[in-house]
Symmetry: C2
Subunit: 243 residues, 2 copies
């Protein structure tokens, strides 16, 4: 329902350069933690490092690329687009997450469309490179498993918290989720737009807007600076648990 804003022109990623995993200062947070530095010499296909602006489409559902993406910094939404054009966001993923892992099993194509929600700093890893590293270092397999388990936990939460109950409760859960996962050091977080909120909760844009506006009027949610907001966690939890 409605086009992805900016999708048409924002795919201009900035290439930062060849990735140097052996010197990566955040590797312990990423897919390749625990691999020795030497693992990255003599890779068949190189790993590249990019920064994508918000709105960039990293990949589209059904397309046949062959890359896994490891998110260094930023937020990516995984979206399902139905034939009738309506869309549903099934997951948000942030720092340290890996996306496109379905290629390692099904091999055919991506299951979702991945779009940058914020500026996204990531490494683009050829599937063949993953396979090479996996065969040299079986431990990598464990980390892939952890990534999957983590995404499964997120998916379950999505069902339980964002897809269950009345609209007010779902939106409250959504704000709590943004607060928990995406707030900066100061505790403030970006309020994503209403269209995305609607696609995350499965309710209409106008209803989402009404709920958010209501929270703002009640000072449960208030602007901190620019598009950064803060919220009253206890009040939101109260709303969620009200039958």
């Amino acid at each position: 329902m409605g086009n992805e804003s900016g999708q048409t022109f924002c795919t201009n990623a900035e290439w930062i350069g060849r990735a140097h995993c052996d010197k990566c200062h955040i590797r312990q947070l990423m897919l390749f933690s625990e691999l020795p530095d030497t693992a990255f010499h003599n890779l068949l296909h190189p790993i590249d490092h990019f920064i994508y602006p918000p709105g960039s489409v990293l990949y589209e559902a059904g397309s046949h690329k062959a890359f896994i993406y490891s998110i260094r910094r930023g937020i990516v939404k995984l979206k399902h687009i139905a034939e009738d054009g309506s869309s549903r966001i099934v997951r948000l993923l942030g720092n340290g997450a890996a996306i496109g892992l379905e290629l390692l099993d099904d091999a055919k194509s991506y299951h979702h469309t991945a779009i940058a929600l914020t500026p996204v700093d990531l490494c683009k890893i050829p599937v063949s490179t993953i396979r090479q590293l996996e065969s040299d270092h079986p431990k990598l397999c464990i980390h892939v498993g952890q990534q999957l388990q983590n995404q499964l936990n997120i998916a379950d939460q999505w069902i339980i918290a964002l897809s269950t109950g009345a609209a007010r409760q779902r939106v409250a859960q959504l704000v709590l989720l943004l607060e928990r996962f995406f707030s900066e050091d100061n505790g403030a977080f970006i309020l994503i737009n209403r269209e995305d909120m609607a696609a995350m909760t499965g309710i209409a844009i106008e209803t989402v807007s009404r709920m958010i506006a209501e929270f703002k009027r009640q000072k449960i949610l208030y602007r901190f600076k620019d598009n950064y907001y803060m919220c009253n966690v206890a009040a939101l939890q109260e709303i969620c648990s009200n039958s």
Copy 2:
């Protein structure tokens, strides 16, 4: 919202015996496919084989057991129970699936309550045994990954198909799901009860009942024998795609 029917008395599993994985005729379908027969000699803790009647609780969310379950035959529902007693089913799993895998990562406790929906034939595998096998046979790790990827796919479908759209569409999707995954050789499948359908789709029992009754009246869904039903797949798909 209502007790689990039969939950109170049905936990009397029948112990079939010590599992002999090396002689298991369906091992290629299970978690341990591709492991050599010798892998199962000298296990620290034994693997047991059970049959649970419908309604049995395999484990409860938050409990601290230390077993993975590999389903040989039957259907298990994974359920989340909220503090207010309402519940949501997040997944159905059938032949060849492994449940309780979260113990391999988080280690603390189960994330859901697992309940047998049909008679369930399964093997109960101590976590320590999985770890032993994993360290001896890194390949097992790949199969755990496949299980997780598969469950992630199911969870995504749950969000997209069962938690999105109008009640009629969700129930149609649910019937299609039962038909696809759980029909027998003759194409018939068990119609689960309305309470479970409601917990799967997040809509009220009465509304589910109305939709199912409507499908029956329209002959889109009809009794085959006992509690086995068949359905008109094309008609249901039509209902799903009607905006």
